[in-house]
Symmetry: C2
Subunit: 424 residues, 2 copies
C-alpha cells in the first residue's frame, strides 16, 4: 500500500520542534498571566457569517467552509478575534470591566501555499475590553512588548500610529472611496512611489499629496517630534505623545511612531500598531493590533477594545534567526539491564527516578553494552545506570556519568543519592 | 444586529476553566516527558482515506469532510492515532527504536450532540513503536497509570485483556463473521444476557457459549487466578501473568484482568486495556488502548506498537467529581492610583512587580477607593497597593493585605520588600 501524505500546505512537528514551540507558548502564557490576562478558548469552527461580519465578503474565498448536519454554513477560523469577541458578547458583557483575555490557537487559510505561509498556522493574541482607551492601549502594547522581551527576542521595533491622523490626511486628498482604499494599501506597503502616481492619476490635491507623503515618511525621532509639536492642534497627535509617556513608565522607552500604519480593517478606530522582527527580512511583521469596536458589530453593546495577535510561527522563526535557545528537553537517565533477571530491578529503579521527577528510560530492545552506550550518547543522556549480574549479586548498580566517563557504584536502596547529593 | 452563537455541539472555555485545563495538560505532558516520550503534532485535517484505512467505511458518516483547492477529499481528524502513525511512516521509520511519542489535540465527531458528547473534544495519547511487545505493553500501561496518579486521580481501575484469548473463545462458538462482530459488541458492553440469547439464536455450541460467558464474567482475583492457572497452556494467559509482574515492579500492584475487553477495531493484535474512573458513573471509561500493527496498513513496515488515548474532557470531569483541585490562578496584586498624577507611578510599580514574576494589575477604570476595594476582593487578590497624594508626597505607597486587612507603608524604591521579606 502506498504511504499517505499530510495535506498540502500543512506541517508535522517532531518532538524537538514541538518542545521548542511548547516552551515558547508557556513563556507567552506566563507573561499574559503576570499582566492579569486570562486565557479563553473557542471552537475551531464558527458560523461563516461571523467571519464575514468581521472581515467582509472577500474573506469567503480564503475559508475552509462546509455545512453542519443542520445545513448551517460553518468555517474553520481564519483568525481568532472574531471568535473571542463573539464569546465576549455571548457571555462576558456583564462582567466587571475591564475584561482582559488572551488566546492561543490554530487558524486556517485556504490559499495556495507559499514559502513561509501555511494553511494551518498559529496565533497568540490578547484583547482588553471595556477600559478607557489610553489605559487600554498602553497596557496592551506593554503586554505585547513584555511578551517578546521575556522570550529573549531583542531588537524588535514597535511602530504606533493613529487612524484619526491618517484618515484626516487622506480625506484632504478629496478622492473616491475606492481610491482611498488603494491609497491605504500602498501606504501599508510603504510603496510611496506608486502612491504618488496613483494619487496624481486620481486628481488628488497636489498639496494634500505632498503633506500625506511627508507625514507617512517621517522616521524615528522626526515622527515623535511632530507628534509633540502638533499635540495641541490635533487630538491624534496629542494622544500618541501621551501614550509614549505611559509606555516609558512601563519601561519601554524606544517605541516608534509611524503615521502610515493603516491595518486595513474597517473596525479599527484609533491607535494601531505593528511589531517587526528585522531578523526576518521582508516578512518581518510578527504582531499587529490596535483599538477597535467589534462587539457592536456582533450584536453586543459598543465598548472600547484594544487587541493584537502574534503570528506564532513567525515568532518561532525570529527566535531561531536571533539564536535564542530554549532549555534542553533531553532525557536525564538511561538504564541498561543486562540479562533477564535485571529487567525487573531496572523497572523498579526506573519508577523510583521518575517518581522523584527525573526523566528516565530503560533499554527495551535487549541492546548489548556497546550498542546501548552508543544509543545513550546519541540521545544525550546525562547518566547511564548499568545493572548486570555482579551488580545484582551486591544489590548495587553502576552509575556512569556520560560526560566525564566516571563510573561509581551505588546501593540500589540509595540510588537517588547519585542524583541528589545532599540527601541526609 | 442579532448575536452570533457558537456552533451546535461545541464549547467556549472561560478563563477559570481554561486555567484548569492547561494545568492538567501541563501535568500530563510532564509525566510523559519523565517517561522519555516526546510530543508530536500533526495537522488538524488529513486525507479522508487515512481515517477510512484505520477505522473502515463506517467512519465517513461521522467525519467533518470537505475538499481542498486541488479537489482532494480531506476531513477533520476524529482521533489522532491515524495521523501520528502516518507521520511515523513518513518520517520516523528510520529512527533508532523504540520511538516513544505522545500527543495532545482536538478531534471532531460529526454526530448529533448528546449530554457529555461534543463535536469538538480533546485527546491526550501516547504510542510506543518498535520494541518487543511485553516491554512496550508494560511501559505504556505504566505511563497511563502514572499520568492519572500524578494528576491526583485515585481509585481508577485498569482492566487488561488479551485478544488472542478472547478470539480463541469466540472462534470456538463456530458462528458467522457478522455474529462474531455482534458478540464482541455485546461483550464490550458487558451485556451478557443479550449475548447469550444472540448466541443461542446463532446456533453457537452450547458448551462454548457457557465457557465464553464464564470467561468474560471473571472478576478481580478470579481472573488473575485463571491467568496463572492457564499460563502454561495458553500463550495469552501466560503473557498477562508476566505483564502483571512487570506492572508490580512499576509500582502498580492492583491492576485487574478482564478477558472481555474487546476494543472493536481490527488492528488491535494482542494486549488491550481500558481505564475507568468510577466517579463518572455510566460513562466511566477515560482511557482505551492496546497493542496494534498499523504502520503497515499505512504503507510502512510492520512494527510492534502499543498506544492509548485519554479522553481529556472526561479526565477533567473525573477530576472535578473527585474533588481534585488545581492551584489558583488568581492575580496577586491590584494597584489603585488615586488621581491622575499617581497613574504614571502606578505603571512603574506595576512593571517592577511583573518583572519580578508577581502577577499584578492596576485600576484602569478610575474607580474610587470603596469600589476598587470591592473589586479587588471579588477577584481574590492577595495584596492591594494604594497610591494617593499623601503617599506620592512621601515617595511611598500603602500595601494592604487583603486577608488580614493590615496596611503598611513602603518606600516606592523598596516595594519588592513587601513581597520578598528576605531581600538583603
Amino acid at each position: 500500500m502506498a504511504e499517505f501524505q499530510k495535506p498540502r500546505g500543512t506541517r508535522d512537528f517532531a518532538p524537538e520542534e514541538m518542545a521548542r514551540r511548547r516552551f515558547v507558548e508557556a513563556n507567552m502564557r506566563r507573561t499574559a498571566e503576570l499582566f492579569g490576562f486570562g486565557e479563553v478558548m473557542t471552537p475551531t469552527f464558527e458560523s461563516t457569517e461571523l467571519f464575514v461580519a468581521r472581515s467582509g465578503e472577500g474573506i469567503i474565498d480564503e475559508l475552509y467552509a462546509f455545512e453542519d448536519k443542520g445545513s448551517r454554513k460553518i468555517s474553520l477560523r481564519p483568525e481568532l478575534t472574531a471568535s473571542v469577541m463573539r464569546f465576549y458578547v455571548n457571555e462576558m458583557q456583564n462582567l466587571p470591566k475591564p475584561v482582559k483575555i488572551f488566546y492561543f490557537g490554530n487558524c486556517f487559510r485556504y490559499e495556495r501555499p507559499q514559502a513561509g505561509r501555511y494553511r494551518e498556522f498559529w496565533q497568540f493574541g490578547a484583547e482588553l475590553i471595556g477600559a478607557p482607551s489610553i489605559e487600554s492601549d498602553a497596557e496592551v502594547i506593554a503586554l505585547a512588548l513584555a511578551t517578546l522581551k521575556n522570550l529573549g527576542l531583542k531588537d524588535v521595533v514597535v511602530r504606533i500610529g493613529h487612524l484619526s491622523i491618517l484618515n484626516k490626511f487622506i480625506r484632504d486628498l478629496k478622492i473616491s472611496d475606492n481610491a482611498e482604499k488603494e491609497a491605504r494599501r500602498l501606504i501599508d506597503k510603504r510603496n510611496f512611489e506608486d502612491l504618488r502616481s496613483m494619487l496624481d492619476g486620481a486628481n488628488a490635491n497636489d498639496e494634500a499629496i505632498a503633506r500625506l507623503i511627508e507625514l507617512v515618511s517621517l522616521d524615528g525621532d522626526e515622527a515623535i517630534r511632530r507628534a509633540k509639536e502638533e499635540a495641541g492642534n490635533n487630538e491624534g497627535f496629542g494622544y500618541l505623545a501621551n501614550l509614549l509617556e505611559r509606555l516609558r513608565a512601563y519601561g519601554f522607552d524606544n517605541c516608534q511612531l509611524d503615521f502610515g500604519v493603516a491595518r486595513g480593517l474597517d473596525y479599527y478606530t484609533g491607535m494601531v500598531f505593528e511589531i517587526d522582527a528585522p531578523s526576518l527580512g521582508a516578512e518581518k511583521q510578527v504582531c499587529g493590533g490596535g483599538a477597535y469596536t467589534l462587539a457592536d458589530l456582533f450584536g453586543g453593546q459598543e465598548v472600547n477594545s484594544t487587541g493584537y495577535a502574534f503570528g506564532f510561527d513567525r515568532i518561532m522563526l525570529a527566535l531561531e534567526k536571533s539564536g535564542v535557545t530554549v532549555p534542553s528537553q533531553n532525557l536525564s537517565v538511561y538504564i541498561l539491564p543486562i540479562g533477564d533477571e535485571a529487567k525487573i530491578t531496572a523497572i523498579q529503579i526506573l519508577s523510583e527516578l521518575r517518581n522523584a521527577g527525573i526523566s528516565a528510560d530503560m533499554d527495551l530492545m535487549g541492546r548489548n553494552m556497546s550498542k546501548a552506550m552508543k544509543y545513550a550518547n546519541s540521545i544525550g543522556v546525562t547518566k547511564t545506570i548499568l545493572i548486570g549480574d555482579n551488580e545484582l549479586a551486591e544489590n548495587s548498580v553502576t552509575v556512569r556519568d556520560m560526560r566525564s566517563g566516571v563510573q561509581e557504584k551505588y546501593p540500589i536502596s540509595d540510588i537517588l543519592r547519585a542524583f541528589f547529593k545532599n540527601i541526609p
